[in-house]
Symmetry: D2
Subunit: 366 residues, 4 copies
């Protein structure tokens, strides 16, 4: 099936494999008139680029983006924005062994089951490099959202058993440690934990939290196109995500109506808002004007150097040890990917919302 | 936006409000030749029907389904299957008070924000009755999946703080208690907990778990149309869902690669399978042929008789107490809704998978 | 496949067969706040209803519409509008003969080829009655377009060899003759022609022209979603349509650039417009603010009483004569169907256009 | 809106402008295992390349395609195939004059109306170069269709007033004249006509006919997704198309049921077929297994050197003469574009048809 396109009006189509010529994205349906430059896109890509700390793969890629279309005199034209990053560091080596067996936790087996064969030189479309297109596309969405006064900020909430203490929450801290945590103390402990993982040829997972400010009330639709349902799909479409929750999430299941309901009230300006935010900013699938908060669970990197049992394509048992350039944790690099997918989803649903009421349509065309 | 249609090839479009003339669904893209009857559809609707225990709303509705099109001589014809349930129990009463304020935890405020006004006689499209169309559509999907040897079974995993002990897991038990739990002991404790909630004019939430057997390897697509991403959206589109996880889910975030990876092995027939199933049956967005396992967190029913603070449409504070026919917990009635949305998703992606390989296309058209 | 849904934001899903319980439509994505009543919808359905002249089938159907959802206190709520018409005149008869052979010009053979069997009691989904859902859905679109000052008017341009003389063009005349022609003289000649067709147990085709006034410049998209491409699909999806052209259409192919180009100029108000309209109101797939003009060619009714050669399901030759209630021409009844499909297409593309420019999005959300 | 993607399962997304860095396409949903090479794609692109005769623009472009992803070891992998052509001949010049007025017959005015500004260096997305992505994508579809035994052949049916005499029809002749006509005599006359057009600083239009052999019965869907409706949209989405007809097309409107109906019969192998083909191979929107025949009307090239009246952006009248590298006719170069759009449409609908019957689904998954 055609599964490389996401969005209804604001739409991205990504392409490329880890060991092919490059990767890219076509952003279609972007409104005309948004200032956009390669430098702006690059600043997002640089956040997911490898080699930024000892906890990311040492594979060297500059991941330099080229805008190929859709921007004229520094502004989007309303036509498709094509962007590309060339792969630089495709090591030429013997892949015959890797081709012969199925790595645990990877999509090797399921690709073979689906397509009959696979590009065995790496993860192919299941590689983390697939997210380059998402991040470039998300940067375009972010340019629109910024103009609308919307901020999206994700960060590492936990790594393995180490969780940030939200009483020490400091947004500025996120950029100052290599694990993207908003709590310097937790960040230190997480790095100790990761060092131990690496020593054991093992890997770690974690939780990413994302907060979105400035989304007006009324975004999202009541039934299948709920804003939270679309965020769930967007985030779950990122490789390695195993869980998604909004507001109090799974904890809400153990709560009661009295505790979980958020009382409506008015703010200092007399605007209707909520006294608490157990709901995470969405009611009935539609944004309520308060902060949107969600979390994603990321599994540990499946590529580990420790010995593992698996089978060859013909079912023969084999013991393997995955060598090479692998991140002991992908959580810090996935933070910007989560932001990107959230941005695309919010931008798309804000465009879809423009026709909700006859009054505003009459205004537009008057 | 048009948010009442779900699916790409196997597609449902639902309609109807809690206090309108009725509710229904059009199932389009269903293959021709599937035996289908009103009795079969009704057996699914009866599982979500109100009035089956003291823990569900006493609103009396027979929810009798009528098939209006798409079935001829007992089989689907390949053309749209329209099904309808008439509302019977629309109490004529004075809604002026309800219309004037925003109920906490409900979509009253967000509907007004989006559409400028709302059908204030009840939940409108945000009512639990909206799921009638999902369940009827899901029954059609289930008819196809059953012919393919696929079973989908959901059940209540927890209610409030009471969780099933999976060592006592007994599928038959699900039908024998009013909370749909596969553990008789937990079911008893849950009912005591719910009685206490009701005494306190309060409500409860819970977790639904769903297991799917028989899905062949290869279903789902690598990037945005991952099978788990689509299940996430499908389940999150059900009102009151606040979290979704697959396999080990959030627990995987605290695990390590060595513990979380599932070793491939062969079964007694020499077929490739996995020694464990932390992944929940999906790798890289594509089914791996093992059991698919996911969980959904359901928030407590927001309609409670206890006093709550909220505001009127103009922002004036008001204290309310929601009277009427409300479920103290919706989890047991949502079990069949979860199965329905899973069935539609799996059926759709199995149809989308038919064209994955040139070889099988050549076979089909030879 | 799921082929019963049309539109992207303003979306209709139709269902029902000629000899089933009824037919209907779900309109999803309609903006909130549009005044709508059953009487308004009915006025459109009455124009396609059978039995209005000797040139339409005498099958008696009142085709009374019921609005089942999506309208509250006389206005659309933004949620799906479900509408239904019950079939009344399903003659109970012996269909075994009809079931056994393939009628020339009908979809009997292709349905069997596709689905393996068919509802042989009539045309099934290929019956002209399928257009009931289109017309009801089109009426909703028309309600929105009327509020925007847009008028859509179709009429019979020709019947068999008889063509209207546009120098005698009179819109009021359309309602005064049974063939929907805007030229009384041609209408008389057409009726004589049709009487001769009926005497010969034969049938006729014709051309429908549609003019659309008031569409602002800027509607439609440059590449695959051109406004004319979408009109072409919309009109071609009506059964029996064999040709579609816009502006000068096929005649443009024989013209030259100098003759076919429309010079831009300004009107009395200084607004930019065109001195001529060979283009039919669309340039590069986008409306230019002038009148949109298109034509559709409709084939002669395939059901004729004259003897025809065909084959049974097993290939045996057979001579048949189709008895029963059939229109000798469907063109006059198809006029309102053409208007409906045009209205849905224009409404949908006007909603899609709302997000074309950043400036207007900032205005909307300021 | 996002209007640069076409198709449901087999899907192309095109990008690029005439004077940008390049143009390209992402083909998504292509089955795995189809042999594909740059040489094969190039052979299609070479047929639309400029500079092949005196009747095409002398703009020099090699239009060399690069496959960037989705092909491994010479076969499609099932993942997106990204292809790009770099623009080479972007003359650096002063565009200030062109930017100031609206060319008749072009999309300059409608782009400004929609997006507020435009890439004034050329046609932008409305340039004929936009079809590069369509042709590259169509070549991939053709690779699949060829394996299925399907041939698609388009040719010039008429140029201005010169029409091929089908009694002289010779497919081989198409490649031997510069106007792609299957009739050498008509080709000679057409070239004389075109020379006269060029002498007069004028341009010509024409009609393209397309015949498709080998499509099995059963492709297409009964209502909105009729095969002919999708072909109509596909062809009408090509710039400059003003009319589309299938089978007898507009002539059918003047015929009678008795003459227009195609009798079913059996062929030498006992297979059910039709004695005539007025329908053009499609009945009720579904292919009937006979040859599919359609025609498209192409308007004269709007860029002409002769003087024309138009207005500046502010409405001031101006007389212009369009200089530069323009085709006096685009019909011969559009032939391969018509084939490409037909191929994509047929391929997509053949994939969508795989799930029409339960029986074949059970076979696939058994």
């Amino acid at each position: 099936m055609a599964g490389s396109t996401y969005g209804t009006i604001f739409k991205i189509t990504t392409w490329g494999e880890s060991h092919g010529k490059g990767l890219g994205v076509v952003v279609d349906g972007c409104p005309a008139g948004i200032p956009l430059s390669e430098e702006y896109i690059q600043s997002f890509l640089d956040r997911r680029k490898p080699g930024q700390s000892k906890f990311t793969t040492p594979r060297k890629e500059s991941d330099t983006v080229e805008i190929l279309s859709g921007v004229f005199e520094g502004k989007t034209t309303g036509t498709p924005i094509s962007m590309m990053v060339r792969n630089e560091n495709q090591k030429s080596k013997d892949y015959s062994e890797i081709a012969s067996y199925y790595r645990p936790g990877h999509a090797d087996f399921t690709f073979d089951a689906k397509y009959g064969f696979r590009d065995y030189r790496g993860g192919g479309r299941s590689s983390g490099r697939e997210t380059i297109g998402r991040v470039a596309g998300g940067a375009v969405a972010m340019a629109l959202l910024s103009a609308l006064g919307i901020q999206i900020q994700a960060y590492t909430k936990s790594i393995g058993p180490i969780t940030c203490d939200m009483t020490r929450f400091d947004l500025n801290e996120i950029k100052h440690n290599s694990v993207c945590m908003p709590d310097a103390y937790a960040a230190d402990k997480a790095q100790i934990y990761l060092n131990a993982c690496m020593d054991n040829q093992n890997s770690a997972g974690g939780i990413i939290e994302c907060i979105i400010d400035g989304v007006p009330a009324g975004i999202g639709d009541p039934v299948f196109e709920k804003l939270d349902a679309n965020l769930a799909k967007a985030i779950f479409s990122i490789g390695a995500v195993k869980g998604f929750e909004i507001g109090d999430g799974f904890a809400a299941a153990a709560s009661t109506g009295l505790d979980n309901n958020d009382a409506f009230c008015t703010d200092a300006d007399g605007k209707i808002t909520k006294a608490t935010n157990h709901a995470g900013g969405i009611l009935g699938g539609i944004s309520d004007g308060t902060q949107i908060v969600f979390r994603a669970a990321i599994k540990p990197t499946p590529s580990i150097a420790a010995q593992q049992q698996t089978v060859k394509r013909d079912g023969t048992p084999i013991t393997i040890s995955i060598q090479g350039r692998h991140d002991p944790i992908i959580v810090p690099r996935a933070v910007v990917v989560v932001e990107a997918m959230a941005a695309i989803t919010i931008a798309d649903m804000m465009l879809l919302n423009l026709g909700a009421k006859q009054d505003t349509i009459l205004d537009f065309y008057k």
